[in-house]
Amino acid sequence: MQAFYGFKDGSGEWFVIIDADACNGCGKCVEVCPAHALEVGEDEFDPFSEKHHVRVKEGERKKIRYTCAPCQPGYGEEPPPCVAACEPGAISHSEAWLHAYAKK
């Protein structure tokens, strides 16, 4: 399952995309996130799944653009810490940050 956490408004699409099938629940991204925006928990979208995976905390979802922005200036050159820490490559960000915050 692919979970899109975030929002879309007039300024663009701001989503942290987590591939729950790829995520192994190791929690390394949780440790490196400077905003403490991530957590590992049960699958909210499949009540019968026993597997735990990472998700964006509920309170961060509606302000994710700003929560994630400090990690984004290097976008395109080096990945944000959560993405770099993820061995299975389960985390990605939508392109809006790239356009708004990448080094020009």
Binding site: Q2, F7, G10, F15, P47
Partner: protein, 308 residues
Amino acid sequence: MAEQGKQEYWRWPEGKWVNPRIDWRKGKIITAGVDVGSVSSQAAVLVDGDLYSFSNTRTGSDSPDSARKAMGIAVEETGLALDNIDYCIGTGYGRVNVPMAQRTITEIACHARGANFMYGPEVRTVMDMGGQDCKAINCDDKGKVLNFMMNDKCAAGTGRGMEVFADLIRVPVWEIGPRSFQIKKEPPMISSTCVVFAKSEVVGLLEKGVPENDIMAAYCSAMAHRIMELLNRLGVHEKFVITGGIAKNEGVVKRLEKELGIKTAEKVWHRPAYKDYPFETQIAGALGAAIFAEAMVSKGKVKSVRKT
């Protein structure tokens, strides 16, 4: 509301239904789902996995009260009490405030599961147009969520936006769909994304003397366009279904179909035995929750809390 007029144009009809073919006293497992949304609340009761009753009502200012009201209407005059229910699951925006629920499940999972039950296993994309958000969900043949996208940041393209519009233009909300087609030529859509700005744009059109029906058409196509933007990223697959209150507004649905180039599935029960049951697009969430409850109890994943 806004004016002193006695009629409240946003008020949509509430509803309830009880299955006359089922006697709940003979049922082994009775489960319920309560979906407390921002604008409407629903409850659905299943007896051994078969639809027994449902209700659809407006959410008040107090979530627990709205949940009790929805549940109360669903079991009214049936003799069924909360103590007879094996398991109850809360869902929706106000799911943490459902007092009779033993656990909660997100509305994303419930809507996918409910739509799968209602429209059949061929459903691949579910668009839930709720009171204050819209969600696009892709699911598999078992109603399991594959991916989803939610727009809960603002009221643009939501049911509440339509209610506000109905009030402003003083036309009952259920008449907007049909009347939006009584036009000579499709007008340009309302350009503002924001409901508040769209409202002032509508006032401007009214002042200019644009016919009411044209304004309704302009608003419906703006809403359809907004929903399409959300769907574009996720991808729409057939069978495509719409749940929630806006599914009843053909002015939005038909324009969305035209923009997407995909038809929405017919609003009929997938199960042949259900063909004369009323089809209520708003109960998908509550129904999904009740189905999850049934599956959990029958698989022994949770214990029944039934007292009598």
